[in-house]
């Protein structure tokens, strides 16, 4: 099952220097975002299993979009994270259902050798809410935690929900 997707966004942040010191290799961080309809907005729904199926589909879509936008293969991904902002007519739990039931499977499948947990953040918020994504090393390589921040300005205030995936 796939959700109704209004819009997909990717943001690539290529960092070449820090405090005047050039990096030997530019660090690229990418956030891949989808804005999807929240069918449960304004309603109390006990069974959120549909969002498990949506989450599985989104995990695959968002990884594909991120890898395509970065122009890299899965072996070059070093860290990852995921986050969700639920529009104000919905519950934070709706976002949680997208991220935590079946989202990770296709992510791990696409990236192959992943070991660590995919860290997440969740919140409910209005249009243009900002979200920070925590990222941890996806495999055994030693790379420190980092974050990517994003916001999407044009959401209607209630209803839509964002789900996204990030790699660095």
């Amino acid at each position: 099952m796939k959700p109704y997707v209004r819009k997909e966004v990717v943001i690539i942040d290529e960092i070449r220097a820090e405090i005047g010191k050039p990096l030997p290799v530019p660090l690229r961080k990418c956030a891949s975002v989808a804005i999807v309809e929240n069918l449960f907005a304004g309603k109390r729904v006990e069974d959120l299993s549909l969002y498990g199926e949506y989450g599985e589909w989104l995990g695959r879509l968002l990884v594909e979009n991120a890898l395509e936008a970065l122009g890299v293969g899965p072996e070059e991904i070093q860290s990852y994270g995921k986050a969700v902002v639920t529009g104000l007519a919905g519950e934070q739990e709706h976002g949680s259902a997208l991220l935590h039931i079946a989202f990770d499977g296709p992510v791990r499948e696409a990236l192959r050798d992943t070991l660590s947990i995919i860290p997440s953040t969740e919140k409910a918020g209005p249009a243009a809410a900002r979200s920070t994504c925590r990222c941890t090393a996806s495999g055994p390589s030693r790379c420190g935690p980092t974050t990517t921040r994003w916001r999407s300005p044009s959401r209607t205030a209630q209803g839509p929900m964002k789900s996204w995936w990030c790699s660095a």
């Binding site: 943001i11 942040d13 070449r16």
Partner: protein, 201 residues
């Protein structure tokens, strides 16, 4: 002469819009902005001669256009509209943005696209890191194509520092989403606001 500035970071924002107001677009609309964060050589001191910023602009016009068009995954001939904008860090002046954008940034953008008879709309502001900026968009060949009056919002959480400038260019692959879904299915040379259609530009 184009001069390559020191780029601290390069940020690409790409939107793929699939529907608007519940109407699926026949073809997804892509909007993309590419932004470079560069050092402002004249931050904190008045400088009469801004030639260096003009040379940076000439370099960035071509470089950022290439980055944005590549990120959209299209041929340059498929670009419909364009725009440019700057955020100057707090120790700089409005005029620094003007020098980057107005004298020389446009020509390499047009050269890369192989088109661009219309003015490239612009916006500039002085602001702190994390400021949002709406990069204006207009049809590349005719200002009166209202279906393409649009903008894309960008924001870089850690830029510009007080001694930096964010320089951005933006492009689309079609009209704004509402017009793409509704007006463009109608026949005739004018859209529902009475302005000329892109194919007549």
């Amino acid at each position: 002469m184009a001069t390559e500035p020191n780029i601290r970071k390069l940020v690409v924002f790409r939107e793929t819009i699939r529907s608007e107001g519940g109407c699926e677009l026949e073809k997804p609309l892509r909007k993309c902005a590419a932004a470079a964060v560069i050092k402002n050589p004249y931050a904190g001191a008045y400088q009469e001669d801004l030639t260096l910023l003009m040379e940076y602009g000439e370099y960035l016009g071509g470089y950022l256009t290439q980055k944005a068009v590549e990120a959209m995954g299209i041929d340059p001939s498929e670009v419909h509209s364009f725009g440019k904008a700057c955020i100057v860090g707090l120790d700089g002046e409005h005029e620094h943005a003007a020098a980057l954008m107005h004298p020389r940034l446009g020509a390499p953008m047009r050269a890369y696209l192989g088109a661009g008879k219309a003015v490239i709309p612009s916006a500039k502001k002085i602001a702190a890191p994390g400021a949002t900026l709406d990069v204006p968009l207009l049809h590349k060949d005719a200002m009166l194509v209202r279906s393409h009056y649009d903008a894309i919002t960008i924001r870089i959480p850690d830029a510009p520092h007080a001694d930096e400038v964010v320089v951005a260019v933006a492009f689309t692959t079609a009209a704004g989403p509402t017009r793409a879904s509704a007006a463009f299915r109608r026949k005739g040379s004018r859209d529902r606001m009475g302005s000329i259609r892109a194919e007549r530009a």
